[in-house]
């Protein structure tokens, strides 16, 4: 069997790509396919599995599977390798425009990523993490793109539900306030500012005690985080909005889903949106703005809206929240949809692809 080495710009602990790369690495071990993970930046918690990409020595018959989500030196390095067979796994790239005013370096990396995607269009093995990503790849000239969804490790999330952090999260939110949740990095394209505006409507006209819980790292954009804090302050929502920061899969993420009455996503750019799947798993009704990859992930479940009318969305969330029959109907639809993404299905698909790559 051929070696399959995985490459990426950063191996980040707890993010969708990092989790997925580790999942592939474990699956390779089960299948007896040798391989390592190479990255430019490696979270120390993954030190046992990963190496710096410059440690890689190119060899005939090896497969280099590159996870593309941002521009990086790793892509340039791989494009220069002559002996190995390149393969690409596309996780989507946020359009640079969202970072233009905030972080020009990050915006440039996004642009560079799009350029690098085109350079990989000739590869024989192309994998997309979602149907939407596949469409983007095809638009860049890729042919024969296969879709392999993320495999969400629910067992791991549920194990995390029993740890002390989860207990402290439960204790902190142990009240009967209606809680709207969003999980995702605090970055402009995810539009947390629209969720705050939604909360302002909800607080003013529906429920003064409503709580918006924003979970996700804000390390990617301090300026956007600052804007959100200013918005909260100016709209007098200090008691209604909580920016909780990142809560890892192993660190009690389950507790926030258990506590949520609704999961609302206003994001304008998503390749897949793993938190939607997690919310579905925990039986939380999902309400999402139907942009980019979101409709493909929700399928025919959940509630999609095509316009950011805060009144319509808030009234729908409130109405469903107060009607157990309707809520259950929505949650049942989501449960059915979850079958497409369950571990057995996604792992089987991934196994087939890996075996084909290694053969």
């Amino acid at each position: 069997m051929k070696r399959i080495d995985q490459f990426m710009a950063s191996l980040v602990y707890g993010d969708a790509i990092g989790n997925h790369a580790m999942e592939i690495w474990k699956l390779q071990k089960e299948l007896g396919i040798p391989g390592s993970i190479y990255a430019e930046h490696i979270d120390p918690r993954y030190g046992h599995a990963a190496k710096h990409f410059l440690e890689y020595s190119d060899g005939h018959g090896q497969v280099a599977l590159y996870h593309l989500a941002i521009g990086s030196n790793v892509a340039d390095f791989l494009l220069k390798q002559r002996s190995c067979t390149p393969a690409i796994y596309y996780h989507n790239i946020t359009p640079a425009q969202y970072f233009e005013d905030i972080n020009i370096n990050f915006a440039n990396e996004c642009r560079r990523g799009r350029e690098q995607l085109k350079l990989f269009a000739h590869v024989r093995h192309a994998i997309a993490a979602s149907e939407y990503n596949k469409l983007e790849m095809e638009a860049e000239g890729f042919t024969d793109v296969r879709v392999a969804h993320y495999s969400v490790d629910f067992a791991r999330i549920e194990r995390g539900a029993r740890n002390p952090v989860a207990r402290s999260i439960r204790a902190r939110f142990d009240d009967d306030r209606f809680t709207i949740l969003f999980v995702g990095r605090v970055v402009p394209n995810k539009c947390q500012h629209d969720l705050i505006s939604l909360t302002q409507y909800y607080r003013t006209l529906l429920d003064p005690n409503v709580r918006l819980l924003l979970v996700g790292s804000y390390a990617y954009s301090g300026a956007y985080h600052y804007r959100l804090q200013t918005q909260i302050q100016r709209q007098g929502l200090d008691k209604n909005v909580e920016i909780a920061g990142a809560i890892g899969t192993d660190d009690g993420l389950a507790a926030v889903y258990e506590r949520a009455n609704a999961f609302v996503c206003m994001s304008e750019h998503e390749g897949f949106c793993v938190p939607i799947i997690e919310a579905m798993h925990f039986g939380v009704p999902v309400y999402a703005y139907g942009s980019t990859g979101v409709p493909y992930t929700l399928g025919d479940s959940g509630v999609l809206f095509d316009e950011k009318r805060f009144d319509w969305v808030a009234e729908t969330v409130s109405h469903v929240g107060g009607d157990p029959v309707l809520r259950e109907a929505i949650v049942s639809g989501q449960r059915a949809r979850l079958g497409v993404f369950d571990n057995a299905t996604t792992r089987a698909r991934l196994r087939d692809i890996l075996l084909q790559l290694a053969s």
Partner: protein
Amino acid sequence: MSTNDSTAKHPHALPPVRLSGSLVDAWSLNAVIESKVAKRRSDAISKGIDYDNLATGKFDMQSSGRLPQQLHEAVFQADLLRDKTQVQLLVSERPLPIIGRVVERMRTALHQAIIFYVNMGAQRQAAFNVEAAKSLTALVQALEDEVEHKEAALQELRAEIRELRGQVNAIERKSPGAAQDAGQ
């Protein structure tokens, strides 16, 4: 807005909320929401609430913060990276038969010695960075407050000027002769 099975039956009015799935009657739910929105709107307006701004108004993100966002971001990132100066051991396995382990041990020892001295310097650099990042953050915050304070004072002055102009105009209207005299 887009159509789905349930909305396609009523092509004359497409609802902003699209509910899919056979378990939910999307059309009747949208009708309920529509009537709720209409009632809420009229109640809010009767209480003097700016409903349309609440329902669709976007928060002006540009107005949040007086200094360029690039500056905020740069200071924030500097603060995040202030103590990330140390390096870790990165020695990959070499698939060499028999001597592989010995080579690996020697390389590890060599790398560790280098890392030890590099990190000594890095620690000093981190201590400096912490102070520099703290100062920068405080400086930007003070600058932001200062600009905001000045803008507020400017607004007050503008309002005062408007008021004074109003008073002058009122005086002029009352005594046109006086204004003519003043003009001469």
